[in-house]
Amino acid sequence: MTANFLLGIGGTGAKCVEAFVRLAHCGLGPDAAWIGLLDQDRANGNAARAMRVLAEASDLRAAFRASGTNDLGPSRLLRTAIERPRAGWSWAPEERSSASLATSVGYGGLPPAEAAIADALFSREERHLQLDEGFRQRPALGAALTLQGVTPESDVWRDLLGALQSAGQGEEVRVLLVASVFGGTGAAGFPTVARLLRKAIEDRGLRGRVKLGGVLMLPYFAFPTPPHEDGPAIRPDSSVFLMQARGALEHYAGLFRAETVFETLYVLGSDPLVPLGTYSDGGSLQANPPLLPELVAALAAVDFLSVRGDAERGVVATRTGGGETVGWDDLPDAGTRGTVREHVAAAIRTAVAWRQQYAPALRGDAWTRHRREAWFKRHLGRATGDPVRADASQRAIELMTKSSEDLLRWFVALERGGAGAGRRLALVADDLLARAWTSHDVGAISLVPDVGNADFTRLVPPLSGPRLSDVFSSLTYGRPMEGTAGLGRLAASLHAACLGRHEGA
């Protein structure tokens, strides 16, 4: 049972969870983490993508961490075991479809006094707003529905508290909530769930064992004005983000003066706001590319859950150097200085080498043409575990390839649009990884089929890494890692070579 819990609330929470899963793929996460999403708009493209990434990361790790058959052993790649909540990756405060506040609270049957309170707090449009696509930037609606939905009897709560109660086994349990302060679900759910959790922790006498952290996202993006044609009566509008954030922060200031909710609170934002190219009311069309503050939020999660620094640091703030270019040195590091860059670089190089050099040589019966080559004989010839021809190995090859391409597309999308106008990211060499990209769909990014031997060294600036030939030499001459098996043996050596810990030329 894990001692780390991460709950993303709302669309922004889901995107930050996705960023955390990317970093966990790179080996920056803890050994294990329970990860869930809380979102009224589960069809939302951001949440849907986060759920897909969570499921795929979980499948990939299961495939490459199967003891004795296909095992990465001590390699940090895919280190984090992602535990799926029993109620599923995502829950909604109001699970019924086509529900509204009115149907959820039984507005029609309320006593006159309570109906009058509902009338005073919520407009007619808000009471009857269909919630399938979230709370549309109305945190008051979200708060009411979250309190209504998150009860001791609800699946969400039973799952979370049950896990908390039985977790730890002496190790300090850490729970981290991630949400925005300016949306609907996140703004409503963040303080509501946090206070419910805090109360549950106090009531159960878990204060010494359970530390509660939060990542609060201040406004960091803006989207175009909604089009004038027909649409829902209540529509999101990013021009009010700052005003909403100010009101919310005043609320939090008062709340935190009165009670301790979080042991550590990370507050993030972006000035100027990162402009998004498209508008969406919600639902599947609301799938935004990754943005820099989400990566920073994921680093906060790594700091709280993986590095496990002092859990009672109060409010943590950071900022970039203020220049036009944001590079690795501008990002808060987790653990030793340079660790994040080192592991992200290794994972990106591993992904490139795997998809263009090694997966094609192992897929189907292609491996028979390479079985006499030293790298193959050394890592797969007499390796313990599943042979390459086994169905499980072939499935693992496809999972790793898909996941590698997904990771590369995510970093390319982040690099190209993640910092906003007038500012540029210098985290990965996106021009070496992908062709021009005009759509906002991350999945539409077309990766280049081959990165050259010299270009491979420049994938993660400003440091140069090993060449593809160095990596190949390392696999040819280096000793396989102890404790590895099957394809995991090759993948572990490949990752070690991409970390720069290689032998040979």
Binding site: R369, R372, E373, A374, W375, K377, R378, G381, F472, E503
Partner: protein, 172 residues
């Protein structure tokens, strides 16, 4: 020391020893071999005593040039990896590397045979042409076999798939 350099140096030392052995061997060979190379009309006792030392010197140059052809072929195929190291699976054992190995095999064999015939052929007036041809062909064949053996045991791991039979002999 880098792994590829160790195997390269081992092969290089063996090839140099071959050259030395080729240079010294004729002096140790029975003189009947040199006598057998003379034309029948030169096999009178006085002429044998007169011409065998010159045939021995020619034989020395023929053997040495064949060994040098092997050495040059081995060094050339080994240096391929210094300038064009493989970047991934398939590159080490296929394509132009295998073609380069095969071309060098033919070049070494021809160079050894032509070199041997040229050195022995100087003495065509006193040596038997058929004997010179047989020696040249034998040395060409021996050079090809030696080149093959050297590249099998002296090549680095990444080159082995390009050398026929090498990967069947070597473990990873």
């Amino acid at each position: 020391m880098r792994h590829w350099m160790m195997s390269f140096l081992v092969g290089l030392v063996i090839a140099l020893v071959l050259v030395v052995v080729a240079w010294l061997a004729p002096a140790l060979l029975p003189t009947t071999i040199m006598e057998g190379m003379l034309q029948p009309s030169y096999r009178m006792e006085e002429l044998v005593a007169r011409f065998v030392p010159e045939v021995t010197a020619a034989m020395q140059r023929a053997l040495a040039s064949s060994a040098i052809a092997v050495l040059a072929g081995y060094v050339a195929i080994s240096l391929v990896h210094l300038f064009a190291r493989p970047t991934g699976p398939g590159e080490a054992g296929a394509g132009w590397r295998r073609v380069a190995w095969a071309i060098l095999l033919v070049v070494v064999a021809i160079a050894a045979a032509v070199g041997a015939y040229a050195h022995l052929g100087v003495w065509l007036t006193i040596t038997d042409d058929l004997a010179a041809q047989k020696w040249a062909a034998s040395l060409g064949l021996a050079a090809a076999v030696l080149y093959w053996v050297l590249t099998t045991f002296g090549s680095e791991r990444m080159m082995r798939p390009a050398v026929p039979l090498a990967t069947r002999i070597y473990p990873a």
